[in-house]
Amino acid sequence: MDILRNPRPLRAAVASPVAAPRTVPLPREQVAETHVVRFDQHQRVQHVLMMSSFIVLALTGLPQKFGDLALSQWWVSTLGGLETVRWIHRSAGFVMLSDCLYHLCYLGYRMGVQRQLGPLRMVPGPKDLRDVLQTMLHFLGVAPEKPKFDRFSYLEKFDYWAVFWGIAMIGGSGLVLMFPVRATGFLPGQAIPAALAIHSDEAVLAVGWILVMHMFNAHLAPWIFPFNSSIFTGRVSARRYAAEHPLEWARIESTGPAPGPLPGQTPAAEPLAAATAQDAAPVLRPRSVDGQLGERPAPRLGEPAPTLEPPLVGGDG
């Protein structure tokens, strides 16, 4: 892991956990070109659906909230009038809710059928609070080191759960607004103005968050610009993985370079040499998909995690 020991001021902290014992160190070039599969195909499709429906919803919803603006009036009339805009908005909402169901089924399948506990790494723990604090102190120059993240950093966890919160709030209130008469069949009448307030205010919060945090961390940050493609390709270079998710990277490293077959993939006869078909550049076989780390059997529900592996959920400061 020489490549990670380069004298870089901000990376010094990151390099140490990666120096986990390795029996056969990889040549430098290979490490540099190794990638980790961070998102499987379902997750990539889910993100594309979420992203596209979110953009359409924002572009058709905000003009309704800010109907006083000449820009909104122009945009609505350009799209063909309010009724058209409303149906576009509702269709995109349907896509987003379907995407949410898709994700829930996917989670159910991963955890219930495949018995993988990987998704549970998304559950926040006390370490995330410590990480927030340490990040702030690091930003201010007080703490010399950044926190070492596991599979998901606190920001990624926040983003993920914020979508759940947002879908529940905006989707629920949106259905009330779409069927106001039916909603008053089982809700008090004042639920409708409340739903309107929730729907529009929560939407502004979501759009604001995406515009500030997501645009910066996925696009505008100088170390990301122009964009972070991993949610579309599923892959993250080993170098970046080691820097951004050192705890998980250490776990990947300690499992050695020859993982067992991954769920849903055909086992590769020569794991080290096998490159996936779409890879033009020579890469090592993807060595990690969420929750499937190395040759050891995946932790099963109801069983203690293997001792070598850090606890799945937080706790490992």
Partner: protein, 276 residues
């Protein structure tokens, strides 16, 4: 309130008989003569000054309702529009008007631009424009604001053809009854005109007043909560991004000042990973 007779020529032509007649020959009935006499008398009392004055509070100078009602209590009268069409004028039942919630108002309190005779033609307006120009808001300003803030107001602002005007729900302003005199069933019936199946519980769905802890508490507290949440979350986001960027700049500057012997230093990763 819809002004139905934008009339540029002869406002006193009787429907049917006026069709084959020149515009200038309509003054052949005894009540029309009476109207002209009354007009002459009224002009002595200052009607002409009132007509010339800009619309607004006309307290003393406004023409008495009886003058307007000389014509506007006669169902079946038509007026000719600027385009030459015959259109029925708005006919008001004086007894019903007196008994209405507006019974003490003067005609020109609402129809300020119709004080002059002959009446000025109304500019052709889109429906949404007509709704915004409504006279109701002169007295019911707060209700009008609440209306524009509601879902119905969104329809108005974005020029939707289905936007309900005041009178669509509240009824004709000349016969309108105070809200307290309405039965809930009657009110729900009006909602059901556009929202089939609306029951009395649907009535709470729309208010012309801003939510408060007493009125629509759920909407009030939901809004308060979300405003605070939005402020906190976005403040966190902005501060986080700014500090992240600042830390990167500092590190970059530090690295550059010390890198003369080291060569280029690659970029540091984001503090929180790139997936956010």
């Amino acid at each position: 309130m819809r002004r139905s007779s934008p009339c540029r020529c002869d406002p006193f032509a009787r429907r049917g008989q006026a069709r084959n007649r020149n515009a200038g020959q309509g003054f052949r009935w005894h009540w029309v003569t009476s109207a002209l006499v009354a007009l002459a008398v009224a002009s002595v009392a200052g009607l002409s000054r009132a007509a010339a004055a800009p619309p607004g509070p006309v307290a003393e100078d406004r023409p008495p309702n009886g003058l307007c009602l000389l014509c506007h209590s006669q169902p079946g009268l038509t007026a000719r529009t600027g385009e030459g069409q015959e259109r029925p004028i708005t006919a008001v039942d004086p007894a019903a008007f007196d008994a209405s919630a507006h019974g003490r108002e003067g005609c020109v309190d609402c129809h300020a631009d119709q004080a002059a005779l002959p009446h000025p033609a109304l500019a052709s307006q889109t429906r949404a424009g007509a709704i915004r120009a409504t006279a109701c808001k002169e007295c019911h300003a707060e209700a009008n604001e609440g209306y524009l803030d509601s879902v119905h107001g969104t329809l108005v602002k974005l020029s939707d053809a289905r936007a309900p005007a005041c009178v669509d729900c509240h009824g004709d302003a000349h016969t309108i009854q105070p809200l307290r005199d309405w039965k809930e069933q009657e009110r729900a019936g009006i909602c059901a005109g556009c929202h089939p199946g609306a029951g009395t519980r649907f009535l709470e769905a729309l208010s012309h007043e801003a939510p408060s802890p007493d009125l629509l508490p759920s909407a009030y507290f939901a809004e308060r909560f979300l405003v605070i949440l939005t402020a906190l979350v976005l403040a966190f986001a902005v501060i986080h991004v700014e500090l992240d960027l600042l830390r990167w700049l500092v590190a970059r500057w530090t690295a550059r000042s010390g890198e003369m012997s080291h060569g280029h230093s690659p970029e540091p990763p984001s503090a929180a990973g790139g997936g956010s």
